[in-house]
């Protein structure tokens, strides 16, 4: 082992944010009065002193090269004294004090392929995970589906109206690194078969007790197979979470024939009007069809079109469905309701309808 350099720096935490705040933000910190949306992708915040800070937000694919860091840095220098930030949905924002710089900045961003939008528009960027670019348990790709779906939803990113905000998110397996479970529309990669068991290598590659205890449903038992120490999986208890594969590479779960994509609807995070809620299952399985996943793009578009036609102003997808009822949601969207839609995991009974409040 090599020796540590004498002056090794550790445990310093992130740089202090004050270094990165524009002077106008520092002066108006905690003293903003109101904001107004100028046009799609552009807003200003007005301080008590009358100061106006303009924000221009542009799309980013989240996976960006350092070349794009330099591009954003150059644009920030050119138009806003070098100040910029990123949003919780992976968009980039430029913070301007000169109103006259807005349109030239937008033109430059457009030219470089980063269209402006999201502010004052119903659809923002799709929060997403790594997929086949970087993950071991991905049931689908992330960036590819996001690109295909966002290409289709661009009018809504750039200002075409919907009844309310429509937050789309994607996670490439049910670990949900992107915590998509409270999204208006969640695109979720899904495995549908238990892992294969590589008995020859299992004892060499994996710690068997850890593997057994990794299973949330207790589906894994120790087993001797042809004289080799290994495990066996009770298939009917497996819900394909990949927890075991994460600790034991001899239990591969990925399968090109049976992995695919599910669609979930009606979740929200904000407390506005109704309480935050989980997304619920709309479509249990769509095939992986790279490079542009047409079935997924079509399914998302169908839900948005039906929602746009039926919801009242301010109603999020979940609020709209709660008003019209789930039976009507399935009827209007033409999505088939199947046995998979009825919960049979822990606490399943909470979702059974226990009243005669039905709409016909």
């Amino acid at each position: 082992m090599s020796e540590a350099p004498a002056k090794r720096i550790t445990d310093i935490g992130p740089p202090h944010y004050e270094k990165f705040l524009p002077p106008m933000v520092k002066e108006n910190y905690g003293k903003w009065k109101f904001h107004e949306i100028v046009k799609p992708g552009v807003m200003f915040h007005q301080g008590e002193t009358g100061d106006k800070l303009f924000t221009v937000r542009a799309a980013s694919p989240r996976l960006i090269a350092v070349d794009t860091f330099r591009l954003f840095a150059d644009l920030a220098d050119k138009y806003c004294d070098g100040y910029l930030r990123f949003t919780s949905r992976n968009n980039v924002e430029f913070l301007l004090t000169e109103e006259a710089n807005i349109d030239p900045l937008i033109a430059d961003l457009d030219k470089e392929g980063f269209p402006v939008g999201s502010i004052g528009a119903p659809v923002s960027n799709i929060v997403h995970t790594q997929g086949w670019v970087h993950c071991h348990s991905a049931a689908t790709d992330a960036s590819g589906i996001v690109k295909a779906v966002m290409d289709d939803l661009m009018p809504y990113f750039q200002g075409k109206e919907l009844p309310a905000k429509t937050r789309v998110a994607l996670a490439c397996c049910l670990n949900m690194c992107g915590a998509v479970h409270c999204s208006d529309i969640a695109i979720l990669g899904i495995h549908t078969k238990p892992p294969a068991t590589n008995h020859d290598n299992l004892a060499k590659q994996c710690e068997i007790p850890t593997t057994v205890s990794s299973c949330p449903t207790g589906a894994i038992r120790t087993a001797d197979v042809d004289g080799k120490k290994s495990v066996e999986i009770q298939d009917d208890l497996c819900m394909y979470c990949a927890n075991c594969y994460t600790v034991c590479p001899a239990l591969p779960l990925n399968n090109p024939e049976t992995d695919g994509v599910s669609i979930w609807v009606g979740g929200k995070v904000s407390n506005a009007r109704s309480e935050p809620k989980f997304s619920k299952l709309a479509i249990p399985f769509l095939p992986n069809n790279p490079p542009r996943w047409p079935e997924v793009v079509e399914a998302v578009r169908n839900i948005i079109d039906v929602y746009a036609a039926g919801a009242r102003k301010y109603e999020r997808i979940g609020e709209w469905i709660e008003r019209i009822g789930w039976p009507k949601f399935f009827k209007l969207t033409g999505i088939e309701f199947t046995r998979y839609h009825i919960d049979d995991f822990k606490h399943a009974g909470w979702t059974y309808k226990r009243s005669t409040h039905l709409k016909f």
Binding site: A4, P5, R8, I9, D11, I12, G13, P14, P15, H16, Y17, G30, W32, T55, S60, P61, L63, I64, A65, V66, D67, T68, F69, A73, G82, Y83, L84, R85, S88, N90, V92, L95, P115, V127, W132, V133, H134, H136, S137, K147, A148, M150, D151, N175, M176, A179, Y245, N254, N255, P256, V269, S270, N271, A272, R273, F278, P290, K313, Y314, F345
Partner: protein, 398 residues
């Protein structure tokens, strides 16, 4: 090395949305790693399966987290991505940067890694994608020299994140960025050296709109709110009406607690009935604002599905003045009690929300020394199976 032929990925260069494939193309000329990444990804697109293996122990000296080991399972075909580890770098609060800071990060990552990043990861970190094992330590040295440090991974306090709060939002009910920064600094050891049963996340949201999805994604959700009356500017209300807003249908009828009246001259809010949902304020940002007695509600326990199913956080402290240093100190003490109880009773890979489900909220509250309050539940129990405690035993405990 020859550039890879990627006909399927090239389909994703088309269309108006920014293309991640174009980002890969920007660096591939000078980065063999990215050429092999493109090759392997094209294989994944053709075969409809991923080609990454989960890592073993890999990291920088003295740290137990911050680096995610990743290896290709096609190492002979794509040797440049045989190692392709992720480094998580703790982002500046609310993701503010200067152009110089971005260029510094670009220089470091050009020198030591693939040149590819995520801005940002789901938890909030700057994610540097694709580093060889031998480059981790030199990259870390350059990062810390530039003032950046690793974020969290594994069973530790994960990198805290926050909305931009007072920096650019009139609705911030406490200083999210300041508190996020202070917590991150105070708990550096918990961040870098995993010692918990599983991960623990903090997210700081300045108001109930919860722009950082705190209630869905943080073990401890600190969500700004207020106790007194919504501030109303009646002249601005009149301007909204004049501008064509239908205040009755847009605002009054959407109020979940039906506490707003509008008579054509102005609005009247019965603030005692208000549930602080933000809808009316969102609809009329120039006319309405949160009250002046501001603080936060602390909620606990949210998580994604693994292992026992997804949870939303639930109320732990109905109101705390996070603008008051003494109350912040009390909160840190409560956090210490939560971590102690979880350390003692939590199972391996059991999040704190799952622990509460398993042992019961009442037992958990006893364990952390917090009194039950009606705000913690949506309703009292509806079953009669009450586990009464032995009064004498209870006294003995005290």
């Amino acid at each position: 090395m020859a550039k890879r032929d990627t006909p399927m990925l090239d389909e994703l260069l088309k269309g108006p949305y920014p293309s991640f494939v174009k980002e890969l193309y920007k660096v591939q000329e000078r980065k063999p790693m990215v050429q092999d990444l493109l090759g392997q990804l094209e294989d994944s697109y053709e075969e409809r399966i991923g080609h990454w293996k989960h890592g073993g122990i890999v990291g920088v000296m003295g740290y137990g987290g911050g680096v995610i080991g990743r290896y290709s399972d096609l190492q002979e075909k794509y040797p440049a991505v045989a190692h392709f580890h992720t480094m998580r770098i703790n982002q500046p609060a609310a993701w503010f940067y200067t152009s110089d800071a971005l260029r510094t990060l670009a220089d470091i990552w050009e020198k030591h890694g693939s040149g590819l990043t995520n801005m940002h990861g789901s938890t909030g970190d700057i994610v540097l994608l694709g580093c060889k094992t031998d480059d981790l330590e030199p990259c870390f040295a350059d990062l810390t020299a530039a003032g950046f440090d690793l974020g969290g991974s594994g069973s530790c306090m994960r990198t805290p994140s926050c909305c931009l709060g007072k920096a650019r939002c009139e609705w911030a009910c406490y200083d999210t960025m300041k508190l996020c920064y202070e917590f991150t600094q105070e708990f550096q050891d918990e961040l870098h050296r995993p010692a918990f049963p599983y991960k623990f996340k903090f997210k700081f949201s300045g108001c109930p709109n919860d722009c950082v999805a705190s209630i869905a994604r943080a073990d401890m959700s600190l969500i700004g709110t207020w106790k007194d009356e919504i501030q109303v500017d009646q002249a601005a209300v009149a301007d909204y009406a004049k501008g064509g807003m239908d205040i009755v249908s847009d605002v009054v009828m959407n109020c979940p607690s039906k506490c707003i009246k509008y008579n054509g001259n102005g609005i009247e809010i019965d603030d005692h009935e208000c549930v602080h949902c933000m809808h009316c304020i969102n609809a009329m940002p120039k006319a309405l604002a949160p009250g002046k007695e501001r603080g936060a509600t602390i909620l606990l326990g949210s998580k994604a599905p693994i292992m026992e199913g997804a949870l939303l956080s639930s109320v732990l402290v109905p109101f705390i003045d996070l603008n008051d240093e003494d109350e912040i100190e009390d909160l840190k003490e409560l956090i210490g009690n939560i971590w102690d109880f979880w350390d003692e009773h939590g199972r391996n890979r059991e999040r704190v929300g799952e622990l509460i489900q398993r042992v019961g909220m009442a037992t958990f509250l006893d364990g952390i020394g917090l009194d039950p309050e009606p705000e913690m539940v949506s309703a009292p129990r509806d079953n009669p199976y009450i586990f009464f405690q032995d009064e004498e035993e209870e006294e003995d405990d005290e």
